[in-house]
Symmetry: C2
Subunit: 229 residues, 2 copies
């Protein structure tokens, strides 16, 4: 990094909360730090913003460098700037978050990361810096998002059963939902289109397959809705 004589300013970093879904749980992508401070401790992937680099671009770069994850859609979460949050100096961090399908991405540690891996998002190991606080806010945002924006479109197969959709909501929310209420409410959004197909190759009675109404989905993404769960 080029050194220069300038008036003292806070350092600027980015952090990434990448949530991952598999069949069992909501996970979060963590790296094990190679260097001090907090060497050996697990942390959110992230790092310093270069001059001339937009924060979102820096988040993508750091994520790719440290975990190999790329081409995912990151959203800005919040900027954490309390002076004491980094023992080295005053570091302001623009946090981002994302929700991906674990099966479609491979992660591998590199750069400043000794290891990289998926951990239960609600029971993570001890984290470096204020990353527990950042993770908590990201979980809260994700739960809020589920209530006023449709999610899951990118995380489910193109045609899916209502049970698959309910499982996804339950995983994100970390709570069991009443089957009948869930179906009534999700159908009421008008977001789902019933297809004329049913599940194949299942031992039990084959369930109806649905797809998302793409136009309605895009409209609700923009306008928001209220899904009481």
């Amino acid at each position: 990094m080029p050194y220069t004589y300038q008036y003292a300013r806070p350092a600027l970093t980015v952090d990434c909360v990448v949530f991952g879904l598999d069949d069992e749980d909501l996970k979060v992508l963590l790296i094990q730090r190679k260097n001090d401070p907090f060497a050996g401790r697990w942390a959110l992937p992230g790092g310093f913003v270069d001059v001339g680099e937009a924060p979102e671009q820096a988040a993508r770069r750091e994520l790719q460098e440290e975990t190999g994850l790329e081409k995912i859609y990151l959203e800005q979460l919040y900027t954490f700037g309390e002076p004491g949050r980094d023992p080295r100096e005053h570091v302001v961090s623009v946090a981002h978050y994302a929700l991906v399908n674990i099966g479609s991405h491979r992660v591998r540690a590199a750069d400043d990361a000794r290891h990289a891996g998926w951990f239960p998002a609600r029971r993570p190991p001890p984290l470096a810096f204020d990353h527990k606080k950042i993770l908590r806010m990201a979980l809260q945002r994700l739960r809020g998002k589920v209530r006023w924006q449709p999610i899951g479109f990118e995380l489910l197969p193109r045609r899916f059963t209502l049970s698959q959709l309910q499982r996804l909501y339950e995983t994100v929310l970390g709570a069991e939902l009443d089957k009948r209420n869930f179906r009534r409410r999700v159908l009421k959004t008008g977001l789902l289109v019933e297809t004329d197909q049913t599940q194949q190759d299942v031992a039990h009675r084959a369930a109806r397959l649905y797809r998302f109404d793409q136009r309605k989905y895009k409209r609700l993404l923009k306008e928001g809705f209220h899904f009481e769960v």
Copy 2:
């Protein structure tokens, strides 16, 4: 500001979008810049974050220094960090926003501001930097907020008529609302408590006074709701 030899980093600033309500319109607080770049141009109040100062604290300080406004509740909006947004160098700005009652605050220009004043939020004068973009996002956030969080509690008298509440929503949304629908929907939230009092000293038929259910209000602030307007 103290100069130091450090690796080159983006500069960090804050900007404040303070919305104000008066009887006629939704306004935004602007200052006229004294110095280049954009000397003489109107802009959002803001400035550089000092080392050791949290961004929200910097936003409060700059707002107070430039406009005299203090003791208001600022919320973080978004961090704008595209490299080209400031002609001097790469400046990353943490934008904040607030909604206040114009009548309860007095503003006066000072520091880097030649003038300070309230302007129509939807028809502002030409603005410096990317402040038009920041203002647009703040307007969008405010509109969204109205739909999923109760607002207005701090902006109305303790007891108010449904017409006063409707007027507030119409001003924030910049749209006329159907009286009957508005009443039905706002009463359905369970947020309002009918008092046994009516308006005093009015020529027309005195309207019923309502108050907010504070417990319910706090719960909805936290959990969110959906108010179709």
